[in-house]
């Protein structure tokens, strides 16, 4: 009887996780199929949409890579991502270090204040910022995105790194100071090597967040050769020819590496999100 109950519990568990896994992955599962499905198969209403009624094809991928600007979108995304990562590291690392080591109420409040700016939504700022971008002459340039994206990566990354730096014992640093390092020297040579996993998290987070971003890219960039994947695929690939096969392949290909990277580092993001409420 107890064994029967055990089996019942297990099957309920598998039922629940299978249901949710299917629900969550459903659109992506569909993208995989559509990417390799022949047009005739795709648009025949009687055919089962979830299986191949005709042999699969690479036609859509060929079309996506050679007849559209998809590769350009990928390159733009990487360029913007790398630049945003660089700016974020340059500004968030010193700020987080300062906040972590700066004891006192003021430092703490400042830290929380910086984190809260992460909550100021882009949808509130894109209108004035579009004017700022115009005045700076950056419209129709990737620089507009490179300049603006750090406004949401810096607050969160500063917060994340602050937690990392706090976990490094002060003694190690003080020893380095006694050994003749300057304060900045101790930070660069002692603290940073010990926080590699934190820095890596910041790199991944800044990169994936700038890849996910939609509203600023929509508001600032309208020439098709300058779009990132998040905006190029849904606006240009639909606008150009509205063929579902290449569109689905274009949505799938950038999603997979982004998802893998993000998943690997997710636990650290959550630690940041929950503000250290879980110890």
């Amino acid at each position: 009887m107890a064994r029967l109950k055990q089996i019942g519990k297990r099957s309920a568990l598998y039922g629940v996780v299978t249901f949710f896994a299917l629900f969550s992955a459903f659109p992506f599962f569909w993208m995989v199929i559509a990417s390799f499905k022949r047009d005739h198969d795709l648009y025949t209403l009687k055919n089962n949409p979830f299986f191949f009624s005709e042999p699969p094809t690479l036609e859509h991928l060929h079309h996506l890579f050679f007849d559209t600007l998809f590769v350009k979108y990928l390159i733009n995304t990487v360029v913007v991502g790398i630049a945003v990562v660089a700016i974020t590291l340059l500004l968030a690392v010193p700020a987080a270090y300062s906040l972590a080591r700066w004891a006192g109420r003021w430092g703490e409040n400042l830290g929380i204040g910086i984190f809260l700016t992460y909550l100021v939504p882009p949808t509130l700022l894109f209108i004035p910022l579009s004017r700022v971008i115009g005045v700076l002459g950056l419209q129709e340039s990737l620089w507009s995105l490179i300049l603006i994206y750090p406004t949401f990566t810096i607050p969160f990354c500063t917060w994340l790194l602050m937690g990392f730096f706090k976990s490094i014992p002060l003694d190690i640093e003080e020893q380095a100071l006694v050994d003749g390092y300057s304060r900045v020297g101790a930070m660069v040579r002692i603290v940073l090597p010990l926080s590699i996993s934190g820095l890596l998290t910041v790199v991944v987070f800044s990169f994936t967040l700038s890849m996910h971003e939609f509203i600023y890219a929509l508001a600032f960039v309208s020439s098709s050769a300058l779009k990132t994947v998040s905006i190029g695929v849904p606006t240009e690939l639909i606008g150009e020819f509205f063929e579902w096969g290449p569109l689905m392949a274009g949505a799938l290909i950038p999603s997979i590496p982004a998802a893998i990277l993000y998943t690997l580092f997710l636990d650290r993001f959550i630690a940041g999100f929950t503000m250290g409420a879980i110890k």
Binding site: P27, W30, L45, P122, T123, L129, L177, V184, H212, L218
Partner: protein, 314 residues
């Protein structure tokens, strides 16, 4: 370097001495960046909302509350405001219930857990604009695979079928179904985030407490409702607050799925601000619409702040 070993009474006092200069110096660039590109634009948004700014003309004049009056009388704005609240509240309730079930399931060990985890996280980890493209086809007016399944099961497309004799439901073409679709995609998207936050909270509950309760005769329902949920309350609050922020201010789902249609029935504040401010070029009214996002966000921020303070104390 040579003064490090202390003429000011030992190395330690020297460190604190220099810190007073160094600390502000290290943090200044980040603060400056945020003040210039978040703080200033925020006030610029307020200024625009009180002016007659357009994308076309560089000059602008102060017009008082005229934009707000115009916006408030606009039926589309009222609908957007209502929709923003409906979408946020309904999807958050769904997310919370589903995330709770899913988190409890993921707490167990089972084979293939890493794959399940990867798949479940996909809606959050993949770019939302790209995930929404998948839904565009799933909800397509002709080719929708969901409609195909319903037809296959005989629920649609035959005379006397429960969902009607039409061959399609026109998910994004009928106001009520379009709203349902937007809520569905928001729920789909935020479920992973809430799940992992709750999961982190669940794993933090000491097993001894649950064991002790079991020894004392508490069944699994009592353990769930009298121990786990109360202990999870703060972390659930965080999950909900983030969910509210991301749904309330989101434009991607509505913009890609329905463009606010049919006939504005899924219009939300963010999308209406975009259509007014950028596409129609009326920066002033667009800014006024977007500013209505602020009170809700300020409320969320205040709650988070209270929460942050409380966890610091304990």
């Amino acid at each position: 370097m040579s003064v490090i070993n202390g003429e000011f009474g030992g190395p330690l006092s020297h460190i604190w001495d220099r810190e007073r200069v160094l600390a502000p110096l290290l943090i200044a660039p980040a603060i400056l960046y945020i003040v210039v590109l978040v703080g200033a634009p925020f006030f610029l948004a307020i200024y625009y909302s009180l002016s007659d700014a357009t994308t076309g003309s560089p000059s602008l004049h102060f017009v008082g509350l005229r934009n707000f009056r115009a916006v408030l009388q606009d039926p589309v704005f009222r609908l957007s405001l209502k929709n923003t609240f409906i979408f946020t509240l309904v999807s958050q309730v769904l997310v919370l219930v589903l995330a709770k079930i899913l988190a409890l399931a993921l707490l167990q060990d089972f084979r293939g857990k890493w794959l399940v985890r990867f798949l479940i996280l996909l809606p959050w980890t993949a770019p939302i604009a790209l995930g929404t493209i998948g839904w565009m086809w799933l909800l397509d007016s002709i080719f929708s695979p969901i409609d195909w399944m319903l037809r296959y099961m005989g629920l649609l497309g035959v005379p006397d079928a429960i969902l009607g004799a039409n061959s399609n439901l026109y998910w994004l073409g009928v106001p009520s179904l379009a709203m349902l679709s937007v809520i569905l995609v928001h729920t789909w998207r935020l479920l992973p985030l809430a799940t992992v936050i709750l999961l982190a909270g669940l794993t933090a509950i000491p097993q001894e407490i649950l064991d002790a309760a079991e020894v004392d005769g508490a069944g699994s329902w009592r353990r769930l409702f009298q121990i786990m949920i109360p202990m999870l309350l703060p972390i659930m609050t965080v999950a909900v607050l983030f969910g509210i922020v991301f749904t309330f201010t989101d434009i991607t789902v509505v913009y890609l799925l329905t463009q606010g249609g049919p006939v504005h029935s899924t219009q939300v504040l963010a999308s209406w601000a975009f259509f007014k401010g950028i596409e129609a070029g009326d920066l002033a009214q667009g800014a006024a619409v977007a500013l209505f996002l602020f009170p809700a966000m300020a409320g969320v921020a205040a709650l988070m702040l209270r929460f942050a303070r409380r966890t610091e104390v304990t």
